[in-house]
């Protein structure tokens, strides 16, 4: 299985493709059989002893044994552990209702901020942006967000300050931006100083020193969706040299 | 402009008025006991009744509550006996909905809604007799009703319909003048600041005439505002006499 998965890395898979456990032609009685462990990411599902593909896309891998299907879509479905940018819509009782682009509004408790107590409420208004993480996100329950990690520290999450521009891109671009050695991020770094917050629900927030620069970054990122790497490099180069 | 001569050589219109003359305005405030504010206004032969309820709790769809302002809800309707032919559908047709929207937008600009968040103000206007300038009469009546209800506004909202015939602007059109394919401009104005709350124009008018027409409309509105002001002062005097020292 491992070998046939490895074979297909980089190929396009469609839902319905499956990988089944092929027994070896010859089983050696003397050698110890090494147990194969394959970690399935999004898009791959286990069913009995087969591995089914549930999303269309390209198969990717990460050493040593992680596989997933890289698919493209615009609409976000909440998943536990993902950090998203949400817009506060309602302040009621002890919770905020936050719109994160999913089918339901997620709830965010007052106390789920760093240093928040019953007396010391966080300063969040309707319409503010919050960067938070899903603790509960399955299809049966209302999604819940928190702005602290498991040890109680904010770790970069919380309510946004003022300024900056929020815009939407597809989820595939977000993943490309968040990849560990993302060439996209490296090229962005060459441009000019700016702050960029990447929400996995397809929302990006960018702030640069002037409105013009913010607009440039926003438009560059929006247009990166459909470009090949070469086109993108040229575009960034032009922007870097022309935009100043 | 075929048939009826809208402006004679001596400068008289069909009903004998001069070009810039407004029709006679008569108004009463506080005509209904049940409503928070009400007013009845006659402008020539056009008669309108306006009633205001609010600010009160949001009724109907809770989701439309605005967290920092009051919602203004307007309904415009014409009585079935208001026109020459009996009106089959007094409200719900496109024209009434459009008028309601325009009224709503006019008053959203004028009423200080930030003072009453999460609440609703209802304005109902009914035309009892329609003889031209329906929209303007509604706006004037509604202004008086809102004042009667004690809801704070930035200024009087006065409206007037003007038309353009033979290079002359005619103020306050009546029904016969409106129908003749005359370019008519309806303007709702806050007189003190000269700010236009609503501007609506139909039929062809050359761009160069726009300025004169708007000037005429603004002067007419200022005239209406003077009349409304007098009505309000008189009403307040009457009421204060009743409440005593």
């Amino acid at each position: 299985m491992f070998s046939c998965l490895k074979h297909k890395v980089g190929e396009v898979l469609l839902p319905g493709d499956e990988f089944s456990f092929q027994p070896e032609d010859t089983i050696s009685l003397t050698d110890t059989v090494k147990p194969e462990k394959v970690i399935c990411g999004p898009g791959l599902r286990r069913s009995g002893d087969r591995l089914l593909v549930s999303k269309s896309g390209v198969l990717r891998t990460k050493q040593p044994n992680m596989f997933w299907v890289d698919s493209q879509q615009k609409r976000y479905v909440p998943a536990k552990g993902e950090t998203v940018i949400g817009i506060v819509t309602v302040k009621s009782g002890d919770v905020f209702k936050v719109d994160c682009g999913g089918s339901e509004q997620a709830s965010l408790s007052y106390l789920a901020f760093e240093g928040a107590t019953k007396r010391n409420r966080p300063n969040v208004q309707v319409g503010d942006l919050v960067f938070s993480q899903f603790v509960i996100a399955n299809k049966d329950m209302e999604p819940e967000l928190v702005c602290v990690d498991s040890s109680g520290r904010a770790n970069g999450m919380g309510v946004f300050g003022g300024g900056g521009l929020l815009f939407r891109v597809s989820l595939g671009l977000i993943r490309r931006l968040l990849a560990p050695q993302s060439p996209l991020r490296a090229e962005l770094q060459q441009l000019f100083p700016h702050e960029l917050v990447i929400g996995m629900n397809g929302r990006l927030w960018v702030k640069a020193s002037s409105v013009q620069q913010t607009l440039i970054i926003a438009n560059l990122l929006e247009s990166c969706e459909n470009m090949t790497a070469e086109q993108r490099r040229q575009l960034f180069r032009r922007a870097a040299q022309g935009a100043l | 402009m075929a048939g009826l001569e809208l402006l004679s050589d001596q400068g008289y219109r069909i009903d004998g008025r001069k070009a810039t003359e407004l029709r006679k305005v008569q108004a009463r405030m506080g005509v209904f006991a049940q409503a928070d504010g009400s007013a009845y206004l006659e402008q020539g032969n056009t008669k309108a009744l306006a009633v205001v309820y609010g600010p009160h709790e949001m009724r109907g769809s809770r989701s439309r509550t605005l967290h920092d302002r009051a919602v203004i809800n307007c309904q415009y309707s014409m009585a079935t006996f208001s026109t020459a032919e009996r009106k089959r559908r007094p409200h719900g047709d496109r024209k009434s909905t459009e008028m309601s929207l325009h009224l709503k937008q006019t008053f959203e600009a004028a009423v200080m809604t930030q003072l009453y968040p999460r609440s609703q103000i209802d304005i109902y206007v009914k035309i009892l007799q329609s003889d031209g300038g329906n929209y303007s009469v509604c706006v004037n009546a509604a202004t008086l009703a809102v004042i009667d209800a004690g809801i704070p506004m930035r200024d009087y909202v006065c409206a007037c319909t003007v038309g353009f015939v033979d290079e002359t602007p005619l103020a306050d059109l009546c029904y016969a003048e409106e129908g003749g394919g005359v370019s008519s401009l309806a303007l709702a104005l806050l007189p003190r600041g000269g700010q236009i709350a609503l501007l609506q124009m139909d039929a062809r008018l050359h761009q160069d005439h726009l300025e004169t027409l708007m000037e005429a409309a603004m002067t007419a509105c200022k005239g209406v505002s003077k009349v409304l002001d007098e009505v309000v002062r008189q009403h307040l005097q009457e009421v204060s006499v009743l409440t005593g020292e």
Binding site: I87, D99, Q125, D128, L129, G156, M157, F160, G162, G163, G164, L165, L166, L188, Q189, Q190, P193, L196, V197, W205, S209, S210, V211, Q212, Q213, I216, N219, S223, N226, T228, Q231, Q234, A240, Q241, G242, A243, L244 | R94, E98, L101, H102, Q105, E108, A109, L185, L190, G194, Q195, I196, A197, L198, L199, Q200, M201, D202, R204, Q207, L210, E211, M214
Partner: protein, 431 residues
């Protein structure tokens, strides 16, 4: 379906950008987005693209009995459908405020201005007249539905041809298009609506708002005019307070825009007529292979309609700019979006990019350099406003390429290396 709520920072940013006279897509305050008009196979069907806003109009006709009070006039009926396809905020079936507004405005713009000769639609007075019905469907909502709808409606009406009718005594025969050629409608003039959006209590105004700008605007002023400078309809909506001077200014801007758009429409109609006459493929079949039907597709060829806008305002013709664009960034990959593609934008990106490319060429040749320098100087002067605006960041060394300095080659390298130095000191957080 609920639309995504607008965040406070989006609103603040948009308003701040508008105060600095910058728009999200790099247009100027009085610029329209790119307008594209395509026709279908039938007469009377047309698609209009205003940037990403897509609208389709279809004209049809049938014979009915006329109204009692107008026995010898035909009937015009307009209908705008806000289909949920266009935006998640539209609901099927319900007549929302916006739909009523658009319908009424279109009716007033086209019907009350008497742009169509209704008396010519009469067949038998008092008994039979033509009823012309214009159906407009919104396919994608990215702001400014009213203008797109008005352009689509009037273009479709111009494009439409009704069947010929023969009257013999009491009998009325309607000839199908195979027997007798259909006749176009008799239209007096072309009213086109121009929308202005106001911000910050009327201090700032924009022409042709896109969907985000529409969300933060205070109100909208719609002026419908024809190219003879006759105003057909004015409507202010949203609770804004206007001043008389603003209205006059808007009407002047509107007259300029309307004449440009009228030219565009006449050109599109002519092209279509030529294509049909030449027997070439037209209509949807033609649009398909070029992938013009698909939404959100951007053309590589900068068919500059914004150029037409700019010639009205700019001193120097920017129209030369597109042909000099180096073709390599403009690869014919479908679905490619380019920053400010085809649009002349005010970021100074494309201008400086063109200069830089010319620098590469001009390093070797002296004579070419001279002519190119002049062209660049032209462009530099005119876009110097843009360049100056960008350089208000004090955080890094900004070297503006001076138009007077002759040898640009080494300077370029110098600036880019300074760039990299600045890049090191910049802070960037990913979360």
């Amino acid at each position: 379906m609920k639309d995504t709520p607008l965040a406070n920072c989006e609103r603040d940013f948009l308003l701040k950008a508008i105060e600095e006279k910058k728009r999200l897509d790099g247009r100027q305050t009085y610029d329209y987005r790119k307008i594209k008009i395509t026709f279908g196979t039938d007469y009377g069907c047309c698609f209009v693209d205003l940037g990403k806003t897509r609208v389709m109009a279809q004209v049809s006709c049938e014979i009915v009995t006329p109204k009692e009070n107008r026995p010898n006039e035909g009937i015009m009926f307009f209908n705008i459908e806000l289909s949920p396809m266009a935006s998640p905020a539209f609901e099927q079936g319900r007549q929302s405020e916006l739909s009523v507004n658009l319908n009424r405005q279109l009716e007033r713009c086209l019907r009350n201005s008497k742009c169509i000769d209704t008396e010519s639609l009469c067949v038998v007075s008092g008994e039979k007249v033509w009823q012309i019905r214009v159906d407009i469907h919104m396919l994608n909502h990215d702001g400014n539905l009213m203008d797109a709808a008005s352009i689509a409606a009037i273009t479709a009406l111009y494009h439409f041809k009704r069947p010929d009718v023969g009257i013999q005594g009491e009998e009325v025969t309607v000839y199908p298009p195979e027997e007798r050629d259909p006749i176009p409608l008799s239209i007096y003039h072309m009213p086109i609506s121009v929308s202005f959006s106001f911000f910050q209590q009327g201090t700032y105004l924009l022409v042709d708002p896109c969907e985000r700008e529409e969300r933060v605007m205070d109100g909208l002023l719609m002026i419908a005019m024809n190219k003879h400078r006759e105003i057909c309809s004015i409507q202010s909506s949203g609770g804004i307070m206007l001043l008389k001077e603003q209205v006059m200014r808007c009407s002047k801007i509107a007259s300029v825009k309307v004449s440009e758009i009228t030219e565009l429409i006449t050109k599109a109609l002519e092209n279509d007529k030529k294509a049909r006459k030449a027997g070439g493929r037209f209509g949807f079949a033609e649009s398909m292979p070029q992938e013009r039907i698909t939404a959100l597709k951007k053309d590589e060829t900068p068919v500059e309609m914004t150029d037409v806008t700019e010639t009205a305002y700019d001193i120097v013709q920017k129209a030369e700019a597109p042909p000099q664009t180096v073709p390599s960034p403009v690869l014919p990959v479908p679905g490619m979006g380019q920053v400010g593609l085809g649009l002349q934008n005010s970021w100074g990106l494309e201008d400086d990019e063109e200069e830089e490319e010319e620098d590469d060429d001009s390093v070797e040749e002296q004579e070419e350099k001279v002519t190119k320098m002049e062209v660049e100087q032209h462009r530099k002067e005119q876009s110097s406003g843009d360049v100056v605006e960008i350089s208000d960041s004090e955080e890094e060394e900004v070297i503006i390429l001076q138009p007077e300095i002759p040898n640009r080659g080494p300077k370029n390298a110098g600036s880019s290396s300074d760039q990299k130095g600045a890049a090191k000191s910049k802070k960037r957080q990913t979360k």
